[in-house]
Amino acid sequence: MSAYFIRLISALGRLVTSRLDRLGLAARFAGLLMVSLRIALGRLSLIFREVYFSGVRSLSIVAVSGLFVGMVLAVQGYEVLQRYGSAESLGVIVALSLVRELGPVVTALLFAGRASSAVTAEIGLMRATEQLAAMDMMAVDPISRVVAPRFLAAIFSMPFLAAIFSTAGVIGAWIIGVKLIGIDDGAFWSQMQANVDVRIDVLNGLVKSIVFGTSVGLISVFEGYFAAPTAEGIATATTRTVVISSLSVLLLDLLLTVMMFRGLS
């Protein structure tokens, strides 16, 4: 009986130490990455290339998702608001939900699934086929040349994508609310403008998306860089990127929301 407990506790201990090991490894990696940023920022063409593959290629899924989310918000929002005769506040509800929360968060989740998983797979495959080692042998630091541009591209793309998501959402809500349901167009926009503050809501939403971009970017390049050089290893790393990025986005969202919006009421 006691032997069982001992095994359980030592297994738990090993789990904790292995997680801490990985966290330490991630911290060291992040440090190396920060150091290499200065060099990486001098190679803008590399960063733009990655912005194209991560950001531009995510445009369609982000815009379409934003449109649909905005439409759903309009439908659900109207259903609740009209019970209290406040249907004209639909614009406010939709805009605040999107700009403060859904825009940054859902965009980050979509980005993690689409772009970041691809980055992880790409870097993992470069490691498995010894391309990173070859680069290292040619006296080119793979971290500044391969890893850093992809990391920076995530940070750069995220706020633009979040803005596009929110805009598409508002337009979608307008289509449903004003055009289909028949809410007054003027009331829709004026109430929205009266209650959405650029500094508190819009800017904070953008700050959120930058923070999410940093987190998702870091996780995706880390998992790819340390992926086991096998097919299974890369598959595992890609899954880890999506899962851990998503969880980190949701956790950071909680922290940021509390920090930013708690003092309002």
């Binding site: 470069m126 086929t129 010894e130 080692a133 070859a134 680069m135 290292d136 040619m138 080119v140």
Partner: protein
């Protein structure tokens, strides 16, 4: 500061290396002179690729010294190590070409990253190197469109782009058809002579290798088993080398993986 002789390009003195508590190299003493081509052979996992890693500074030995052109490689800092690596070229087992660049850009990579040469000059140099390996016509292809042998030749052109003094080859013949093997072998010899390099080839392929090299170093159990001229390999009666050279299934390297007694395992005892 260990003693250094002018003619020695690479010198390993009493090098020990273990990986995750498993000893791989156990007191290696090896000197390679300028201009030599040597082969490193031995069983799988015997430490051959580890030696290349030590010479290139990608691995640090637990003890002993690794000298390349008089420099103590394990003690070099990052910038100095990168400076040394500009003079060392490495051909990886499957080429390790950058899959997002075409053949031309792959070979141009070291020039664009390490030099400030203008594009026209780089173009000329790349074409020269590609011509030397016979693939100038393939310059616009992507690595995915190349056969194994072609990919390795492009990788070779890329590795010698900056005219290194030392070339390291990690199993350059593995998995190639006989024609490609012959081509690569000839290229290794020609480049070594033309550029005055020192080459270290890790390989399993005896036939092609014995034609190229000045010396063969055979590793066994973390030590240098024998260091001899290629002709001697064929005629020696050392059992380990004989098993290797003749491809015998059993000998000093056992056929059976260590396990329980056959009869008792079958009988379920």
């Amino acid at each position: 500061m260990t003693s250094f002789h002018e003619s020695e390009m690479i010198a390993l003195k009493d090098v020990c290396f273990s990986y995750a508590d498993r000893p791989i190299l156990n007191g290696i003493d090896l000197t390679i002179k300028r201009g030599e081509i040597i082969a490193i052979m031995g069983g799988s996992g015997g430490g051959k690729t580890t030696l290349l890693g030590l010479i290139a500074g990608r691995l640090k030995p637990q003890s002993g010294s690794v000298l390349v052109n008089g420099l103590e490689v394990p003690k070099l800092r990052q910038t100095e190590l990168y400076g040394l690596r500009r003079k060392i070229g490495m051909l990886f087992q499957f080429g390790a070409l950058f899959t997002d660049l075409n053949v031309f850009d792959n070979v141009a990579f070291p020039y664009r990253e390490q030099t400030n040469l203008p594009e026209e000059m780089i173009r000329t140099l790349v074409l020269l190197k590609l011509e030397a390996v016979g693939l100038r016509g393939a310059k616009d292809l992507m690595p995915a469109e190349l056969s194994g042998g072609m990919a390795r030749r492009v990788a070779l052109a890329r590795a010698v782009a900056l005219d290194p003094s030392v070339m390291l080859y990690d199993e350059p013949f593995t998995g190639l058809d006989p024609i490609s093997v012959g081509i690569i072998g000839r290229l290794i010899k020609r480049l070594n002579r033309a550029l005055g390099m020192t080459s270290v080839i890790v390989t399993h392929d005896l036939n092609e290798t014995l034609r190229l090299v000045d010396r063969v170093v055979v590793l066994s159990q973390g030590k240098i088993h024998r260091d001899m001229a290629p002709e001697e390999i064929r005629s020696t009666d050392d059992p380990f080398i004989r098993q290797f050279a003749d491809g015998l299934p059993d000998g000093p390297v056992p056929f059976h993986y260590p396990g329980r007694d056959y009869w008792s395992e079958l009988m379920g005892q």
